[in-house]
């Protein structure tokens, strides 16, 4: 035995690790030396976290705070005294008083070689890449002084670019196999579209049976784009077509901007996250050449009116008329990623989905009907562009049923990143722009529309309106400064019960739908707020099993973690911390607005007076503002 051991090469001899008595140390603190500095951390902390907490820089690539540990890229290696090889700091839990060195000649050489090896299979030019100057691989190459391709460099493309999807473009030549997108798709979103296919040198990230992305069950949320460290995943960019429309004098180009991009676009211009650039952005958009700049929050307010009325109608049919066919709880339909998720994974629950369109599509339909009529413009000359924090909105505006104005309601969906790029291309420095307001006839919207951007926002906006319409009293009487905090925050699933303590008279706008509110007296409104499709799956399974959530009346679902402000079209990077700051920006802007409830928005009221004359959920609004869904199912043909 002894003799055999001597014959084995050093690299293959068993590596004996002293027993660390793992059970014993849990909950205790361990003192370690990092770069000869004594640091005390809780037992089980990874070396990476210990370093980051103590301002010691360790580079990472496959590591992402939203995702599980993978340890695939090896760039975060450090030297641990007594260990034969370098250890990946992201996946090494501290369980003993070890000595760690983060910058020894061996570590530095290894890191340089690792980056060099990644580059040896990375095809593409930085100049022509969408991620130029915002690429993690590029910055690592700079950081570790890779000045020549020691291990060669691919000179020919190996994969075809997959442009089949309206939302996500995959260029696997640029992929470095960090598997962030795989972990995003399978763990974070539980959609399961991407995986590593084949083995060894042949390994690449692909879909089921290598089918184009448009043919598989991708929900277009774009979270993978937001996690990708290189330019392998990007959004389908329509900016060239938009420039063309802007430069065409016969076209009337109209922009509608969602609430989330304004809270994040500053990040594209080197600003700290958490600062809104609403007024500056409006000026910049006009200078680029958009003829009108509207606020999507206006139709968010309209969504609340339509969806809220739909909810009241459903509750009335179910509770008073005892109609068993009414599907409750009602699900929100604002998030196109969530809508497609439901169509694929829970098609039996499509009746629960509110038939109201998302704010983007409502606006498109209104611009090409109401606005065209008011301004005397031929709707075929109007080009409607939507600035969204979202990749799935590109898919949504291309849905064939979204043409209730007789034209394609929204022509292009543009992400925050692409908008930032267009502003830069026009030579405009966004933070230095003077502020300006949105254009009429839709004007400035209410704070309720604005908070659509954060998870819980739709629910809060709906509650503000429903409570006032039902009780006839101000929401401020129930919740301090109308901030409905139980539905705020970043927990994946939030559940709240709102008691209806008293009822008032039925407001004018709903008179033709219900006679009185008596049936809601002493009722308790049960609501839930869910973000991220992994959480949505949990709630849907609970509803299927007849659990707590099946008794809810209204559930808000958002496909992306954090809601729209963490959307797949937002500036990269997006982390929990950045999402919180963006939410803060949105909520503080909401508090600063004079009108904070959808039904108090005078432009919405006047729209119902002038155009949608038969009220919310009436005939005209059904034609323009409501839609239907497709049972897609999970099976990939």
């Amino acid at each position: 035995m002894k003799k055999d051991e001597l014959r084995t090469p050093v690299s293959q001899r068993p590596h004996v690790i002293e027993s660390t008595h793992v059970e014993k140390g849990i909950g205790e603190n361990v003192s370690v030396f990092i770069n000869d500095k004594k640091i005390t951390v809780p037992f089980g902390t990874s070396i990476l976290d210990a370093c980051r907490e103590n301002q010691i820089h360790v580079p990472t690539l496959c590591h992402h705070p939203d995702l599980c540990i993978a340890g695939t890229c090896r760039i975060c290696v450090v030297e641990v005294e007594g260990m034969r090889t370098l250890q990946t700091s992201c996946s090494f839990p501290i369980t003993a008083p070890i000595k760690i060195h983060t910058s020894t000649p061996m570590v530095r050489k290894a890191r340089r070689h690792i980056v060099d090896l990644l580059l040896s299979e990375h095809y593409g030019e930085c100049y022509t890449c969408v991620r130029n100057n915002n690429c993690e691989l590029q910055s690592l190459a700079k950081e570790y002084g890779v000045d020549e391709y020691m291990f060669g460099h691919v000179t020919e493309s190996r994969y075809k670019v997959d442009k089949s999807s309206y939302s996500v473009v995959r260029d696997m030549d640029k992929c470095i196999l960090c598997k962030r997108c795989v972990r995003t798709c399978i763990d974070l979103q539980e959609v399961g579209v991407l995986e590593a296919i084949d083995r060894g040198y042949e390994t690449h990230i692909s879909t089921f049976m290598e089918k184009p992305l448009a043919d598989v069950i991708c929900i277009n949320c774009g979270q993978c784009i937001n996690r990708c460290p290189t330019g392998a995943l990007k959004a389908n960019d329509p900016s060239d077509e938009i420039w063309e429309a802007i430069d065409d004098p016969t076209k009337h180009v109209v922009m509608q901007t969602a609430p989330s991009p304004r809270a994040a676009i500053g990040e594209m211009f080197g600003q700290e996250p958490g600062k809104s650039f609403t007024g500056e952005m409006n000026t910049a958009l006009r200078r680029i050449g958009f003829d009108k700049v509207f606020d999507t929050n206006f139709t968010a307010d309209l969504t609340i009116m339509e969806e809220g009325t739909e909810l009241i109608k459903r509750l009335y049919s179910a509770l008073v008329k005892k109609d068993k066919s009414v599907a409750l709880p009602q699900f929100t339909s604002c998030s196109p990623g969530w809508v497609k998720y439901l169509e694929h994974f829970y098609p039996d629950y499509i009746p629960n989905l509110s038939s109201a369109k998302s704010p983007q599509q409502m606006f498109g339909a209104l611009i090409k009907t109401f606005y065209a009529q008011e301004e005397g413009i031929d709707p075929k000359d109007i080009v409607c562009v939507a600035l969204m924090p979202c990749a799935a909105k590109k898919f949504e505006c291309n849905r064939p049923e979204m043409n209730s104005s007789g034209f394609k309601d929204v022509d292009y969906g543009l992400t925050t990143r692409e908008m930032g790029k267009m502003i830069m291309e026009a030579g405009i420095l966004l933070p230095e722009m003077p502020q300006s307001h949105f254009d009429n006839p839709f004007g400035d919207a209410s704070g309720a529309g604005l908070i659509f951007g954060a998870t819980g926002g739709v629910m809060e906006a709906a509650l503000r309106t429903v409570l006032e319409l039902v009780t006839g009293e101000k929401v401020e009487n129930f919740f301090d400064r109308a901030n409905i905090t139980p539905v705020r925050g970043f927990e994946g699933i939030k559940y709240a019960e709102v008691p209806v303590t008293k009822v008032g008279p039925v407001p004018e706008i709903l008179k033709n739908l219900i006679p009185n509110w008596d049936w809601l007296k002493d009722a308790t409104l049960k609501v839930a707020v869910v973000h991220g499709t992994a959480n949505a799956k949990k709630v849907m399974e609970d509803i299927k099993a007849g659990g707590k959530f099946s008794e809810c009346h209204f559930i808000e679902f958002m496909a992306c973690p954090g809601g729209c402000l963490g959307g797949g079209g937002q500036p990269i990077p997006t982390t929990e911390e950045i999402r919180k700051k963006r939410a803060q920006a949105i909520y503080s802007e909401d508090e600063s607005l004079p009108v904070r409830k959808s039904h108090e928005n005078e432009h919405v009221v006047s729209l119902y007076d002038k155009f949608l004359t038969d009220g919310p959920c009436g005939e005209i609004s059904h034609k323009l503002l409501h839609t239907h869904y497709i049972k897609r199912g999970k099976f990939i043909v």
């Binding site: 399978i186 959609v191 399961g192 995986e195 296919i197």
Partner: protein
């Protein structure tokens, strides 16, 4: 695929799931059983396995693409794999390779027109002292020469 075939395939997979379990760990034996019976795991079978184990179809495909002995595209009823590793190569693999391709009229990686035999290369079978080695379905043949190899092929034909 006909509806009837689909139903019988579903039933078959259900049988395997009952036998091996309905968790991720059962994925390999289930795929091997399907592969043994059908010579490949069709995209429908992959999705059925994924549905019953409550995992994503792409994960099943990922596993199939990783292993050389699992296939997602139709293969011949018999799979002949010739060892291409150095020990077999040095004792006459080339001669066997030429004889086999000439006999079947197909190259390596291809299937005969009648769907009976698929030819493939494989890496080391662990028969380095008895090469050249060839594995037909799950049976190993060693110390091959062209004549012997052709006899083996004729037997399975």
């Amino acid at each position: 695929m006909l509806l009837e075939e689909k139903n019988s395939l579903s039933e078959e997979i259900e049988k395997y799931v009952n036998e091996y379990g309905n968790n991720r760990a059962a994925l390999m034996p289930i795929l091997q059983a399907v592969q043994r019976n059908h010579n490949y795991v069709s995209d429908f079978a992959q999705q059925e396995v994924a549905r019953m184990l409550d995992i994503h179809p792409v994960e099943v495909y990922s596993v199939i693409s990783f292993y050389s002995f699992l296939h997602s595209k139709p293969r011949g009823r018999n799979i002949v794999r010739l060892c291409r590793t150095i020990a077999c190569d040095m004792v006459g693999k080339d001669a066997v390779e030429k004889a086999v391709t000439r006999e079947l009229g197909i190259g390596f990686g291809e299937t005969t027109k009648d769907g009976k035999i698929t030819l493939e290369f494989t890496n080391c079978l662990g028969m380095c002292d008895q090469g050249p080695a060839m594995i037909v379905n799950e049976r190993v043949f060693v110390k091959l020469d062209p004549e012997k190899a052709i006899n083996i092929l004729n037997e399975i034909k």
